[in-house]
């Protein structure tokens, strides 16, 4: 059986691949959405932090022999901590100013981080060994699915759902959301709002680093890896609705699939298709698919 000249089986394979790439978009845009939703900061350093997460995992493995599983925990912690430092020393001074200042600061930081890593580690990147447990693949009949890719999709769904749950369904999440609406009032209830904001930024950054660790075995651990993906991720956030957690997750997966299908039917457009979708969505629904009009 064929659909538009492509065998159905091949199409299933491509859909699955799209979903896997969508998993990365979802995890990265989730961090961005959390940061924007709660801090109103457009975090352009996100791509660099994703790259630093991957590098951190590489360091842990090459220098200290710390394996993949510990890296999944340690790298986000370490990079999240650098995020906390950035928020405390720099970002927190800009909250009273226009969004643009936060954007410029984070963009500048991203360029500095990438430059420093390129200077020390070169541009062609470092290989990260696939953990032994994930060697091999499942033969699904219609395609050959590497075990690691299957894990990426499962892990990403878990991370996304639990983040969404914490923010939308728990007491902690309700404090966070209240603090964005009216920080003065929440502070009056005895909650330390600045600390909460710092930790939120740290958490968003840790999510980027986690995605970086997960990407390390698939892609080269290279200084430019974040720069290549971050623009797409921003488009995902805009399409999903700035600051909408659920929007970021669903659009991340959805656009991964759209991109995957474009790679089959018209590959030349595969890195533009997301922006075409963005233009259409913005024309019809300026706040994004899941965003609230203000």
């Amino acid at each position: 059986m064929e659909i538009f000249g492509i065998p159905t089986q091949a199409l299933f394979g491509q859909l699955l691949i799209g979903l896997i790439n969508g998993a990365f978009y979802a995890m990265l845009s989730l961090g961005l959405a959390v940061i924007f939703g709660l801090l109103n900061v457009i975090n352009f350093t996100h791509g660099a932090q994703y790259m630093m997460g991957a590098f951190c995992a590489w360091f842990l493995l090459e220098k200290w022999g710390v394996g993949y599983w510990w890296s999944l925990l340690l790298a986000p912690l370490a990079i999240g901590l650098t995020g906390v430092v950035i928020e405390r020393t720099m970002l927190s001074r800009l909250y009273k100013l226009d969004h643009l200042y936060g954007l410029l600061l984070t963009f500048g930081l991203a360029l500095i981080f990438q430059g420093v890593f390129t200077n020390y580690y070169g541009s062609s990147g470092q290989p990260y060994r696939l953990p032994e447990e994930f060697a091999g693949a499942f033969n699904l009949g219609f395609m050959y699915l590497p075990k690691y890719r299957a894990w990426v999709i499962v892990a990403s769904v878990l991370v996304c759902l639990s983040t969404w749950f914490v923010i939308e369904r728990t007491k902690l999440g309700s404090y966070l959301r209240a603090a964005t609406e009216n920080p003065a009032l929440v502070q009056a209830f005895g909650i330390n709002v600045p600390r909460m904001i710092t930790l939120t930024y740290g958490f968003g950054v840790a999510l980027a680093a986690l995605a970086g660790v997960m990407a390390a075995p698939i892609y080269q651990v290279a200084p430019q890896m974040g720069a290549n993906i971050i623009i797409v991720v921003f488009a995902v956030v805009v399409i999903g609705g700035m600051g909408s957690i659920l929007g970021a997750i669903l659009t991340g997966f959805g656009l991964g699939v759209v991109e995957g299908l474009t790679k089959v039917f018209y590959p030349e457009a595969s890195n533009t298709v997301i922006f075409v979708v963005m233009v259409i969505v913005l024309l019809i629904k300026p706040a994004g698919l899941f965003g609230k009009e203000k």
Binding site: V264, S270, N271
Partner: protein
């Protein structure tokens, strides 16, 4: 990226203002070499700071400074943008009195610099870029193209693999001029040798995930998957092909432009068995090994690629021509370079054709298995040598206006 544009415009304005103050100088006893390269992006390892090192080593080895000439090597980052590269080139020629520009990976930038060099009557020694147009339709009396080009890569790898039984091809090509040229030239070599091309896909530049294209290649059942791309695109596609079991499934990858630094980045576990064409390998003879040792000590432990070797050899030959001519007039020096036969420790004896193409042998190499590799950077087995007279496009086929 606006910041870059602003800088570029500012540079352009500065250059425009300074026009008219500079005139081509007869040898003022200062030979100024400008290394225009990629210092911050994907070609940094295969060219970048290493190209500056190579140029400096060439100056040192030429011994020209002991004979009373002063030589200065400067460098700049072209950021892989033709506009940035052009404004640096103009600034260098007009204001900073640079006599010769070398390296310049990225064909787009190189074609622009070649034109400017011609207009200003200076010299351009291109060893970084691939496009065979530099010595074809867009050839210039002021440009020498040293290390490699797309025709040579396509012909070397395409012919060898097709003759070796890999007679059905599927291409994954970078969707811009370079990828298209490489695919076109390789397909021609494949067909000429009795093979056939059964499909292909054009992937946008800097694609992260190639799995979708690889699945299409897998479904095509072609024996050979030709990768007409470069840098990060090549390493990512090779890595992911291993992940998806493409090579285990019996299909073979042909990297059409792969550098030593790419193999280092991939690791032998992933890269083993890959076959492609190079014009220089550091472990060929005592001279190349000695050069590699000196070089790597100065470039973060990186061993020289064919681009680095090209920078070294071209600067060496350039300085010989300047000394023979006792002038650094670009047009005359390049003419002299073509007249003199070349001889250097890295490429051996060779010639430069009237179209600017440097002629030397090419090598078909295969990446060693981890067990075969005895030392760091011990990566290649040389499986065949393509003689100098067959390695490059025949003079008559290039369409260069300098060829009569």
């Amino acid at each position: 990226m606006n910041a870059f544009k602003r800088t570029a415009i500012a540079l352009g304005v500065a250059t425009a203002l300074s026009l008219g103050t500079a005139h081509a100088q007869v040898s003022d006893n200062l030979i100024k070499i400008g290394v225009l390269t990629d210092m911050s992006s994907l070609y940094t390892d295969l060219a970048g700071a290493g190209s500056v090192v190579a140029a400096k080593l060439a100056v040192e080895d030429s011994g020209i400074e002991k004979r009373g000439y002063k030589v200065e090597v400067i460098s700049a980052d072209h950021q892989n943008k033709a506009d940035v590269g052009s404004s640096v080139a103009r600034q260098w020629y007009d204001v900073d009195k640079v006599d010769v520009i070398v390296d310049t990976p990225n064909s787009g930038v190189a074609l622009a610099v070649s034109q400017i060099t011609r207009d200003k009557g200076k010299a351009f020694l291109a060893s970084g870029p691939g496009s065979s147009d530099l010595t074809g339709a867009k050839c210039s009396p002021n440009t020498v193209h040293w290390a490699y080009d797309t025709w040579m890569l396509a012909n070397g790898t395409g012919t060898a693999i097709t003759k070796g039984g890999g007679d059905s091809w599927f291409f994954i090509s970078a969707d811009y001029a370079f990828g298209a040229a490489l695919e076109r030239d390789t397909a021609a070599a494949v067909i000429k040798n009795g093979g056939k091309v059964i499909g292909g896909v054009k992937a946008p530049l800097n694609t992260q995930d190639f799995s979708s294209f690889l699945l299409q290649a897998q479904a095509s059942k072609a024996k050979i998957i030709g990768l007409a791309n470069a840098g990060g695109d090549t390493t990512n596609s090779i890595k992911q092909a291993a992940e998806f079991g493409i090579v285990k499934g019996g299909q073979k990858l042909a990297g059409l432009l792969v550098f030593l630094t790419d193999i280092h980045a991939l690791g032998l576990q992933t890269a083993q068995g890959l076959t492609f064409t190079e014009t220089f390998y550091w472990d060929q003879n005592d001279a190349s090994r000695a050069f590699a040792k000196r070089f790597s000590a100065l470039d973060k432990g990186i061993y020289p690629t064919m681009v680095h070797a090209g920078v070294y050899a071209s600067v060496l030959h350039y300085l010989k021509a300047v000394e023979a001519l006792k002038s650094d007039d670009g047009t005359k020096v390049v003419a002299k370079m073509k007249e003199m036969s070349t001889d250097d420790p890295l490429f051996g004896k060779g010639t430069i054709r009237v179209d600017g193409r440097k002629i030397h042998p090419a090598y078909l190499v295969q990446v060693k298995t981890p067990a075969e590799s005895k030392a760091p950077w011990d990566y290649y087995k040389i499986v065949a040598t393509i003689p100098a007279d067959q390695a490059f496009r025949p003079l008559a086929d290039g369409g260069c206006s300098l060829v009569k």
